[in-house]
Symmetry: C5
Subunit: 321 residues, 5 copies
């Protein structure tokens, strides 16, 4: 689906144009065209491939989807794949943004993602002095936007870990906690898959030899790189903490087992000792003076109660009950 198709020159919007006008604008030297597609059919992609002369392998990647994030050069043009991560409740949904960037065009293809890039377009048009840098700046603005959307996802996962830690030490359901930790680890993996390879890819867009398209916006790409670096480090820390939490969880389960055993033992003792006393007075010896006492029976029961009371407080004191 075609979302938008706009021509720019000198940092300013010229006009919303129709797809078949693209080649007219591409031929003007000072002008560049920005096309946005959403979940396009094969025909739309093929048309764009023809219009912008895109490399077959890149288009095939965009058509297949499920690529890992990357930044590839095809001659003078760039092909970038980014994962768009959106949240649905506590679950993560992974979409994909494929960007083709050449000297005088930018084509963004969004797949399986709800939120678009209206805000990016607005930002670019608000800053004509930066948009003058052409497609390289638009590429930056799109990347920056996708990367900035990772932060709330990361925050959500950090909050989730904190909640799990709280529940773990507060003694919540160990089974649910264990399962949630495993799920958190899986989500971190998804985020890592989005951030890690992109981090490597963006590193090639500033400093040293840089693709021509990006040359004018190097400091901006370094900024994206820096954000990715921060994300990367935070994800790794979170993963390590989840691993630590899992092992702490095991210790706490073992501790709980220990406490359960002690508690059981205490309870067992509270039953076993009176049973022994009852057993003793159930013996059939002829000469057992207590049996003949008037208050033998209540005294025996009293003795049971007394011993149990003593044991109860002793167990309580030593933390077994």
């Amino acid at each position: 689906m075609l979302v938008s198709c706009v021509a720019y020159a000198d940092g300013r919007k010229l006009a919303d144009i129709k797809p078949d006008e693209i080649s007219d604008y591409l031929s003007r030297p000072e002008c560049f065209v920005w096309v946005g597609l959403k979940d396009p059919g094969p025909g739309e992609l093929a048309a764009m491939q023809h219009e912008f002369d895109l490399h077959e392998l890149a288009v095939e990647d965009a058509r297949h989807g499920n690529q890992r994030p990357k930044v590839e050069e095809y001659g003078e043009s760039l092909f970038a794949v980014l994962h768009m991560i959106e949240t649905e409740g506590a679950e993560l949904v992974v979409g994909e943004l494929d960007i083709f960037a050449g000297r005088n065009y930018i084509l963004s293809v969004r797949n399986r993602a709800k939120k678009g890039f209206v805000d990016v377009r607005a930002r670019c048009e608000r800053e004509p002095h930066l948009l003058e840098n052409g497609s390289g700046f638009v590429l930056y603005a799109l990347m920056d936007s996708v990367v900035d959307r990772y932060f709330p996802v990361l925050d959500m996962l950090e909050t989730e870990l904190e909640m799990l830690e709280g529940r773990m030490f507060a003694g919540g359901s160990a089974r649910a906690n264990t399962e949630a930790m495993y799920g958190l680890k899986q989500k971190l993996m998804v985020l890592k898959h989005a951030v890690g390879p992109l981090y490597e890819g963006v590193g090639k867009l500033y400093g040293g030899r840089v693709p021509k398209v990006c040359a004018g916006s190097q400091e901006y790409y370094r900024d994206v790189y820096d954000h990715l670096s921060r994300l990367n480090q935070s994800i790794d820390s979170l993963r390590e903490m989840v691993t630590t939490a899992l092992s702490v969880n095991l210790s706490l389960i073992a501790l709980h087992e220990n406490e359960t055993t002690k508690r059981l033992a205490a309870c067992a003792a509270l039953v076993a000792v009176p049973t022994l006393i009852a057993g003793i007075y159930g013996m059939n010896f002829k000469h057992m003076p207590e049996l003949d006492w008037q208050f033998g029976y209540p005294l025996a029961v009293l003795m049971m109660v007394a011993i149990d009371t003593y044991l109860f407080f002793r167990f309580r004191k030593s933390g077994w009950l």
Copy 2:
């Protein structure tokens, strides 16, 4: 066994030729020969070594088999070893594809693998403009095909992990699960051994200094490299998740132990308390008024039942039963 032996020129098939015609075609400058062998005997390999002037060490590697995947240059020719991984039920079968590629020949030797490369040959012949690049493109097409066949294997292992996770949290047999996780780890190791070294090897076939044979197809080799990179990352993630799953599994076993202990203790209590009551009324005190009551016995039994009922619901409420 000779599978096929075809001469190509200008991206088009010339003819199916006989092995002894190879040298005629090799002498024509614009022409190259593509030979496919399957589980060849030593004689066949020796004949090909003579025909194409292959390096002794490379031929020895192909003869011995059980090589790790690699891409080696011998002068102007290349020798590549790839693992072919096929599935038999839930098991993995590792075959080997050895490719000798020179300026005007390509020799592929398939060992212990069922599925051949008819589709690759068909694809190459469908795209004469690419096949014009000569043996370098055929080498790419073979590699691409082998690598693409890793993806369904990876998918199978991912599905296996998901199933194991499901069974683990649903409380299936922990013993069978543990064993299956170990088996999954082993299979991931097999896949890793196929992908990891090849990933390194293919990295030398594009960018920077490139073997002459591959020079015209660099972007295609980068595509294979990118696929291998994706596989590599997915395998590593899977391995990490299996390790995590194993440790979660241990936690769940410990939790289950805990629950078992509690349940036992509850059952024991349901027996021990009535036993104590019976013991008390089994005491031989002379003066135990209850013993003389008309309904002493049923009352005692009733008391036992009442206490057990109370305990039963209390245990149920606190999750011990």
Copy 3:
């Protein structure tokens, strides 16, 4: 909030100046200005950006805060972000110090940190021969001061680990210990986040190509680098020891469980054996000579006591009690 604003020349303080005099002093070639801000409002930052012609991206980073430590070049000026770690009881509070350093100015922006840099200013003014190196030396002095403040934090964490080790082997509360170890791991993560990225960043300020501002103070930056390297290694060691301690902790919990089980079993035996004896003499056989003995009953009780005494010492000897 403006903390200070001073002009220096030839390593000596010229005067405390007002913000609107800054541009006068900046125009003098031999002179540089050092401005210190604390939790500045957006207006203050914007004024400074205008005064010193700071790069927009750097100012934005300083405005947002929550950056990871880094050292970035913008043309001939440097932008550095450092984490300031202060302790509140056993908790760590992370502040941020942003430093903008140009040929003839240094602007330090301190956020969320109590302790200022009066001592750094005093040290610089005490050593005019070093301050002659200009803003590069001030940048060093600020970095050195922040890094030196990490050491007492590290010492605190080391002491905390030692205390936890002591408690662990002395058999203190395993639950509290486990929780404290987890907390220690979290604090080490905070410190690692402050040290790790800075370590990388400072590595670029000496040896090889060096930003012009730092050129005269290279050996001093190497000294900071060396301190960071020491911190980095100590943090990694501490983290490894905490991980080891967590696994040792699990072993000790399992051992304790074992001891508990043994102790319970011993206690159970002390009750069960007399219960058996009582049961035997509670049998209703007609011909049980002991039952008729004069001292049968005390003898039976004596036997119970004797057996329990024997068992008690045997259990004690084998360490079960």
Copy 4:
């Protein structure tokens, strides 16, 4: 002990010579001398040092033994240390092979290893066209032989792991298994120590700048390197699998504990329930009609048996027995 001392020229053996003839042959330009020592005394080494003008540090290393594998250049000559790993039953015995290689000599010193290099000498003499490359080829042949002897050791360890896996899942003695896994890890460490450093060392003998001695045999050294790379990867995989096996082992032990607990509980129930029934009929109530029944006693016993039978099958069904 001098094992052999032979002079070669043009790839062919000239003669077995005496140690004091060495210098005569060394002076002939086209000729090289190959000396083999076994567990030499200090005198023998000193004589050779004098004969071949070996570097003091290298000779000292050879004298002391217990070096890590390495390949070092001393001027135009090479000094290589390799570990020879032989098996004695299930144990590994580590010997050492020190090789001094110069333009016109090769001196191999074998320590604490039973198997010699008769086969290497035979192979070299069988292939005069390769032996023409001189001492560099002999060095390769020795290294290749040592490295090839690692493979059966690796196979043995792989077989050992498979056996341990089998025993582990078949429920063999967990204690013996744990100990055997630890032993396997130790042996893998020994093999790793032999392979890892050598892998690094051999990597310097082909491609890029290469010691003059090895220049003519580069493709052969790459072959050794490739074997070492395969060994290295297999060892790392094995180590990872042993670690995984150890953690699986722990899970299985915990599972077994769980099963033991359940079984015990089931047995305890089979005793406790009849005990309760016996206790009930041991109560001394006056009015217990069952006590007066003709078949009260057998009925009570029957009830016990019936309940136990029911419990037995229920436990069996739920897998507790």
Copy 5:
């Protein structure tokens, strides 16, 4: 404290000199001075700083102590920090050796270490042809000596691990073992801190660009580097084995728990079954023929004994007792 102060020329000792004669000897071109200090006061260090014109940062490091090992260049002079590790019983004591090396002087400052370097001085004076290389060779000799002293420490730790392994599998006190393993890990950390950074530092003293002072003794520095590499690898292996041992230890504890549980259960059964029998014959049924038998009582006791004997051997056979 000044330990020694000697002037050398042409590889031979000239004279023991007084500190205030140092400058006389430094002015002679062919001569160098070697000064040894032990736990010096600030005044002594300041005097030497003045005498040899040492860099302030280096002297400050030497004054503060507690540096990590390193090798730093200050202009044409070198500053090296090494940890000296001595054993006191089973504990490690960490001292520090700071070496300042210039063209014509060597100053060694030993802190908190008992053993001096008399042997190094003797060795140097025994080998005038090497001492001719000047301060660079003395620096090597000191480093070599410190590094060689790490080996017995490593041997001690290896022996300790072997002892712990033995005790672990022989079933010694698991608590003491666990604590000892943790202690061993800590000691390995101390040794690692001494070796690891030094390994990096010494790597810069041979091959490629080398500080002028060391230029003549490169092969000797490579030898030290090789020793450090061996130490480094052994320490890493030991650490890995300790980690493995800790996890094996946990398995053995779990196994022991399992055995304890089984043993207890067996003992409980030996008591519970006779208790049941006694309970049965304690029932008050009117018609229980056995109760009237002449030998009913002894038969009942015999039955108890018989069953227990049977159970005892059955438990023993299945390893529960």
